[in-house]
């Protein structure tokens, strides 16, 4: 039988990934009121960027077969650079799938489709260039750090601690930024009343790009860490996380930063409580749980009640 502490750690670290994912969705949702369906693809790219930046070679099936960067960065640096790369990709998604539609003042819901398209293009690009095989970021990459530590009988992998620590750090930094800084408050103003924000002189376009950049950075870093934690299962591996992150976003309450984190942890824990012999039913349990929670609390755990526009 699993140690209770073990279950807790497994659940919280999986939940941390979902939380990072949902935070990215939340930022964009709060300024635009729509979901960026390319977010999962940006996460995937973050993982591949990290892999390449630590000097990993491209496998035999991709167009870039045998390619390897002429340098190999230490994992931390690679993760940070991959995050920045993912932020750039996210900005590119904004420029191609969101901005043109916004300039034409079309229905924001249309960007659900254009962002889904951007995501498919990105994922296929990865498949063409890197092939469909899986890639592992070798353990022992965390220079100097042991692969696992023993905490009161539970074996906790270092990467799990990292995931939890980074999710907590992101939550704190993001909250402080949103609540305290000039640009964070301006972003919230755009989120609450875009027209008034413009009349205050807040450039909505820059705020939207800022939200995409931060959201992309978070996804990229999460991708790299998951790549280290469970390996990169192929170009489509972001999709499963993306869907669950979406569920988490709704569970936490659309647009709520602490809600995204709480929702992530709750879903991660619910999954971890599924006994190992039934692990094939994990996703089913997670979604059933989401479904039940939303029946009880449609606005999400920490969401404001949505006023109906009908």
């Amino acid at each position: 039988m699993d140690h209770l502490l073990q279950i807790l750690v497994n659940g919280l670290s999986a939940g941390a990934v979902y939380a990072l994912f949902a935070l990215g969705y939340t930022l964009v949702f709060s300024v635009l009121g729509v979901i960026n369906f390319a977010h999962g693809a940006v996460f995937t790219l973050g993982a591949y960027f990290t892999y390449l930046l630590i000097g990993g070679p491209v496998g035999a099936n991709g167009a870039l077969a045998g390619f390897r960067l002429p340098f190999a960065l230490p994992f931390w640096l690679a993760l940070a650079v991959a995050g920045l790369g993912a932020a750039l990709v996210s900005l590119l998604v904004e420029a191609t799938a969101f901005a043109p539609l916004r300039r034409q003042r079309s229905d924001p819901l249309l960007t659900l489709i254009s962002s889904l398209g951007a995501g498919v293009v990105l994922v296929n690009l990865v498949q063409i260039l890197m092939g469909a095989e899986s890639y592992a970021i070798p353990a022992g990459t965390l220079a100097g750090l042991p692969a696992a530590v023993n905490l009161g009988g539970a074996t906790v992998r270092t990467v799990q601690l990292l995931l939890m620590g980074i999710a907590a750090l992101v939550l704190v930094v993001l909250t402080l930024w949103l609540e305290r800084s000039r640009s964070g408050k301006a972003l919230q103003a755009v989120s609450e009343d875009p027209l008034m924000a413009r009349l205050l002189g807040i450039p909505a376009g820059s705020m939207i790009r800022l939200a995409f950049a931060i959201s992309g950075f978070l996804a990229g870093v999460a991708g790299g860490l998951v790549g280290l934690s469970v390996s990169i299962a192929g170009p489509y591996f972001g999709i499963g996380f993306g869907l669950k992150g979406l569920g988490v976003l709704v569970l936490g309450g659309l647009g709520s930063v602490p809600g995204a984190v709480l929702g992530g942890l709750v879903v991660g824990l619910a999954e971890a409580l599924v006994p190992a012999e039934f692990s094939g039913t994990k996703d089913g349990v997670a979604y059933a749980f989401l479904f039940l929670m939303l029946m009880l609390r449609p606005q999400g755990l920490l969401g404001r009640p949505q006023s109906s526009k009908v």
Partner: protein, 238 residues
């Protein structure tokens, strides 16, 4: 009056699809003036302000600021130029605190000390906002929200303040309070374009007025002339 006007509208027209909301509007604003833009619901008053703030594009005519055309400016650009717009319905940021609303009013300013000094002056002018500075703006009463909306516009240090129906939905006593504040701002030298349906209250503090009817000017003159005008008395003053 002489000299280049601060703001000049010439032959301004705005359409929304098939609706001609505004036609052939000429209006000049000189520094220090308080002009009332009057008219009943749907006359085109808000549309005029929206055109000045570049929220809608004119279908004809032009707008100049200090003699320079505004045609290429963005809405943010007009704020930067010194045009503050306090829109219809107050639009305070309900989820933000009173203090944050005021800070965001100064979003484009970089002079931290000046902002802090203005915040203090603002709390002196609006003591009720000072008492409630940490409260969510959404929890304020209608009158307090209107004061906050005006105070927030002032935090941007505009040269011209566009005010859209500040008296709407307020009790007579509060209307008088708002108008007294506007009169005081005018005495301090602020140029104000005041949109109102409450013609009597607006003309009591205005230098002159323009009356819109279905998008066209039906009357214009000094405040005293308009207050003495029988047609205006009949349709707006009751």
């Amino acid at each position: 009056m002489s000299g280049t006007p601060l703001l000049a509208l010439t032959g301004l027209a705005v359409r929304y699809g098939n609706v001609q909301a505004l036609r052939e509007l000429d209006l000049e604003m000189h520094p220090g003036e308080l002009v009332a833009l009057l008219g009943s619901n749907g006359a085109g008053k808000s549309t005029t302000l929206r055109a000045i703030s570049r929220l809608v594009r004119p279908s004809a005519g032009g707008i100049t600021w200090r003699g320079r055309p505004l045609a290429r400016a963005s809405t943010e650009g007009t704020v930067r130029l010194g045009i503050g717009h306090c829109p219809e319905g107050r639009r305070v940021l309900a989820r933000q605190s009173v203090a944050t609303n005021l800070e965001l009013g100064a979003y484009l300013r970089r002079d931290r000390q000046g902002i802090r000094a203005d915040l203090e002056r603002c709390y002196e002018r609006f003591p009720r906002l000072a008492e409630r500075r940490g409260q969510r703006a959404g929890s304020l009463s209608g009158g307090e929200q209107q004061m906050l909306a005006i105070a927030r516009s002032l935090m941007g240090r505009p040269e011209l303040l566009l005010l859209d129906e500040p008296s709407l939905g307020l009790a007579p006593k509060l209307v008088a309070e708002v108008m007294a504040i506007l009169a005081e701002l005018r005495r301090d030298g602020l140029t104000i374009l005041l949109v109102e349906q409450n013609a009597l209250a607006a003309l009591a503090i205005a230098d002159r007025g323009v009356v819109l009817e279905a998008g066209s000017v039906s009357l214009r003159g000094s405040a005293a002339e308009l207050l003495a005008n029988d047609a205006l008395r009949a349709s707006y003053l009751g």
